[in-house]
Symmetry: C2
Subunit: 570 residues, 2 copies
């Protein structure tokens, strides 16, 4: 059962739920006509099913390895990468002047989801390059742009992000890597970086590391950090890969999943680097990269969820066990299996709508430069990241469960989804960090964007209450409960009171937003049909979870510290 691209769901969401037409109506994205988008989706879908899907299991069984200091990649990944690059999928949202397609992030989001659903380990490679391309477009000098962007976009070279150090994970500001001016405009970069995804390959001509390091006059913490381009092979005067830089892959990690993606410890020993952006402004540039990477990682979780769902559904539709309520049917007819399948499908639809809506907000911010869209994109990003990846783990685990004992056997592939997707809840900022970002930084406006979204949700529900009393009423009530919790949150000046319930709050926001989008889908369908039934399932059976989440969100920090660390260990 190869991966099947959910093109019709993308089209439906674009046309009826997240409003891609607004994006296509801007000058910047005038090319994103329905026909163009349809063609893009079909083509990326075909790539995913035919080229990337076969890599999934092969990559798991044959991890990337380090041999004599060189990374040897999993079989078939060179060809898979080449197909992605040749399709133009790396630079799908990159600016046309550097060779990109200049298409909306919403479309990239759909394309990335399909590639991730077919083979997460492979898709992580272009995702890293996409982040780097964006960072360079916004912050690099014209010289760096001219040299690197065309090669990154074409896939001739690829990019990585080097943030984490052993002592500096979530606390990026604790990093120790140093950058010392060489006097010729370059810098000598020294330090150890860990968890570097796709740190090297045996099938791409050069690897471009974006590295965070501290200049000699950089203050402690995040404000003293600068960003550097540190290529594996230093480009010669013609821009071709030349002399080897003073950097190396020290080791590859043995990970729970994503075996085909080489995750490295990198050592920089006076490697030559070029400053990207202003001195000490590295975090700003990094955040450009990270914000879109966060959406990108949320989409990875969602993609894996879709893959796991299709995989479990195919199994359920073949497997027979016992008499079913519909006669001698497959296990898909057993109520409990149906419950699992509908949970999976409805979570995916909700998460997909949220990630696409986040993409649309990014596109509208880029196309209109309106602060409102920018704030909306910033607000939706941590929700898209956390909900997309939590959905990945939840759906992959349900998929395994649908398989019964066979799910635990690696040959079926169900377990691989669970193992591969698990890291998405962690990297690019753990979901705890995302949630803290949501309740603190994304509410420095006093919760204005949160309330605006809640207004929108309530308004949309109110507008269809006559025709859809049950669903609209439930969504409106839930939004109102979310409003009360939001009011409580923004009234807390002590951030730790907010942090105590940040994760349950983020989950509740996603639940309510997911229900909102489901309702929109049902309305667009006229209330009768599979999308409407899926909406009913989500709204009547999953949405109620928001209430307990919001009680938890408002429980505050006090009870967390009334048990001493000693008693935790007792």
């Amino acid at each position: 059962m190869p991966y099947r691209a959910p093109v019709s769901d993308f089209r439906f969401l674009f046309d009826h739920v997240v409003g891609l037409d607004q994006v296509a109506a801007t000058d910047l994205f005038a090319e994103a006509t329905p026909d163009m988008v349809e063609a893009i989706l079909n083509e990326a879908g075909r790539l995913s099913s035919e080229v990337l899907d076969p890599l999934q299991r092969a990559g798991d069984l044959n991890p990337a390895v380090l041999e004599n200091g060189k990374v040897r990649c999993s079989p078939g990944f060179a060809e898979g990468y080449r197909a992605i690059a040749e399709g133009g999928w790396i630079g799908i949202s990159a600016r046309p002047e550097s060779g990109g397609m200049g298409l909306p992030m919403a479309v990239t989001t759909a394309v990335n989801e399909m590639m991730a659903g077919a083979c997460l380990a492979m898709q992580l490679n272009p995702l890293m390059s996409q982040g780097q391309i964006e960072a360079l477009e916004h912050h690099a000098s014209d010289e760096i742009k001219a040299l690197y962007l065309p090669k990154l976009i074409s896939g001739e070279w690829h990019g990585t992000m080097n943030l984490t150090e052993p002592q500096a994970g979530s606390d990026v500001g604790a990093l120790r890597s140093k950058a010392v001016p060489n006097g010729d405009g370059t810098y000598a970069i020294t330090g150890t970086k860990i968890f570097i995804s796709w740190a090297d390959t045996d099938f791409i001509a050069n690897t471009c590391h974006l590295v965070l390091a501290r200049l000699p006059d950089g203050v402690r913490g995040t404000k003293g950090i600068s960003l550097f381009m540190v290529p594996k092979l230093i480009p010669d005067e013609n821009g071709n890969p030349g002399q080897a830089n003073n950097l190396k892959v020290v080791s590859l990690e043995h990970k729970m999943g994503l075996h085909a993606s080489p995750t490295a410890v990198m050592e920089y020993e006076g490697a030559t680097g070029w400053l990207v952006g202003e001195p000490h402004q590295g975090m700003k540039a990094m955040f450009t990269m990270m914000n879109n990477a966060r959406l990108g990682v949320g989409v990875q979780g969602l993609g894996a969820a879709e893959g796991a769902y299709q995989h479990a559904l195919a199994y359920a539709l073949e497997r027979k066990q016992g008499r079913t309520p519909l006669g001698d049917g497959t296990i898909a007819d057993h109520a409990d299996v149906r419950r699992m399948l509908l949970t999976m499908k409805s979570e995916i639809h909700a998460a997909r709508a949220i990630t696409l809506a986040c993409g649309v907000a990014i596109d509208m911010a880029n196309a209109t430069a309106q602060a409102d869209w920018k704030t909306r994109a910033a607000f939706l990003t941590p929700i898209a990241k956390a909900y997309g990846t939590d959905t990945g783990t939840k759906v992959a685990n349900l998929g395994l469960q649908v398989h019964g004992g066979m799910g635990y056997i690696e040959e079926t592939g169900a377990a691989q989804y669970v193992r591969d997707v698990r890291v998405t809840e962690i990297y690019e900022g753990t979901n705890g960090i995302q949630s803290m970002d949501l309740v603190a930084r994304k509410m420095v406006d006093g919760g204005e964007m949160a309330f605006r979204l809640i207004d929108e949700i309530e308004g949309a529900a109110e507008a269809v209450r006559g025709d859809f009393p049950d669903m609209a009423g439930a969504v409106w009530d839930a939004a109102e409960t979310l409003r009360e919790a939001t009011e409580w949150l923004v009234s807390q000046d002590d951030m730790n009171e907010r942090f105590a319930g940040a994760v349950p709050y983020q989950k509740a926001f996603a639940r309510v937003l997911g229900a909102h989008f489901h309702l929109k889908s049902a309305v667009a369908e006229g209330g009768a049909g599979p999308r409407s039934e899926l909406a009913r399932f989500y709204i009547s059976r999953l949405l109620p979870e928001h209430a307990a989440m919001l009680i938890h969100a408002k429980a505050g920090a006090k009870g967390l510290y009334s048990i001493s660390v000693d008693d935790l260990s007792a």
Copy 2:
């Protein structure tokens, strides 16, 4: 950080929450004095920390393999098994007349939890033997008992369960294995069995397979199934392992976890077997074994949760990232990490209380032969199995999350808990099957036992409402909501209406029961102290989840079938 046995929590629960004193007051278990129990817990705790814990990672890295038809086990497992056997831990609840210790199941439950917490793959071996011992005690002929029980209890031999066939998983009645009388009182067993845990070893003298098969006159379905003892080596006249039986390990599975436990496809080719129990009554005997095995598997999940919790806590107490609310503390001082640690610890306390209470009910049923205790044990078993194992997966995943990126690296061991424990939600009857058992078979009494437990919960809450208004009020209210849902459930004659919400109902029952036991812990502590704070955390932040679960439980089957199978695939 080796595993530390949570002896004080066991003692507290035994003394103040689940009432082990009632058990010790019976003639059958008069030996289970507090001193004796204390000594047992300490000794099993020491074994777990010192002998079993070191096997955990070694077993993961060096899976059991099949070489030239023989199973080669993971390094150290022979010694680990010997230590378990020599400690008498296999036969801890077995009858003294066959060499068992005759101790209560409640105590076995604690011992098994510790062994599972230290090394799940190792503990699975004696757990299988324990189930077989129990089945033989209840159903085997005196001859079989005399021959097999002493050797199983001493650990000289070990036991397996052979239920599943490729086409017969959850639907055991579909099995095809045949048993043909040989005319000498033995039977020729032929068939293929899959998912056989610890199907063979290179360190135990004989393997005793209990195999379900159909006699020539066996009807279709579960009513035509009989149970057979089929030893790997046929005992000679002196009861020593003699001639090899006609059976073989065909292959070992590549599993997501539990690598050290050889999970086999077994082929029986006219193997010699002895009938256990009456012809066609195999399912009855199997259910004896499975009921206690279900509690045993719930305890496996719980044990893994405790191991994962300790592991994550140790990491959190060493790792520093950023400024914490308590100054320059470890990440354990960050509110979100605290939330995760307290969630883990409070789920474990609740699940532990439920498994021990189930053990007490089994003991009281055995000691008093009162139907009420038997019904209670039967009711609590699927909850203990499902909640214990769901807690295993939830806590192991939170433990991985506490580690951040390090959790995804296999060397830290956090991921192994996630991988190992995952199967416990599946084997011995999936948690879906457990939940269906709860709402159907365990409610054929019209829900009498459910209502009795709810009465108990409400009574206990009512009794302390004056001193603990918040906690007692919340528990009482939740129990009342559970009562309403139970009334709805038992009023549904169409079982599929119950099955549609069986899993959420079972989860809600566990939530309310867990809150009840937490409240009892708090009351026993006088309302001030770490157990009381943990109870407050659970009751105020996790118990509210019961409401959405019960809405889901009552949502019925209709909405599950309003989306066609074709639309599920669309």
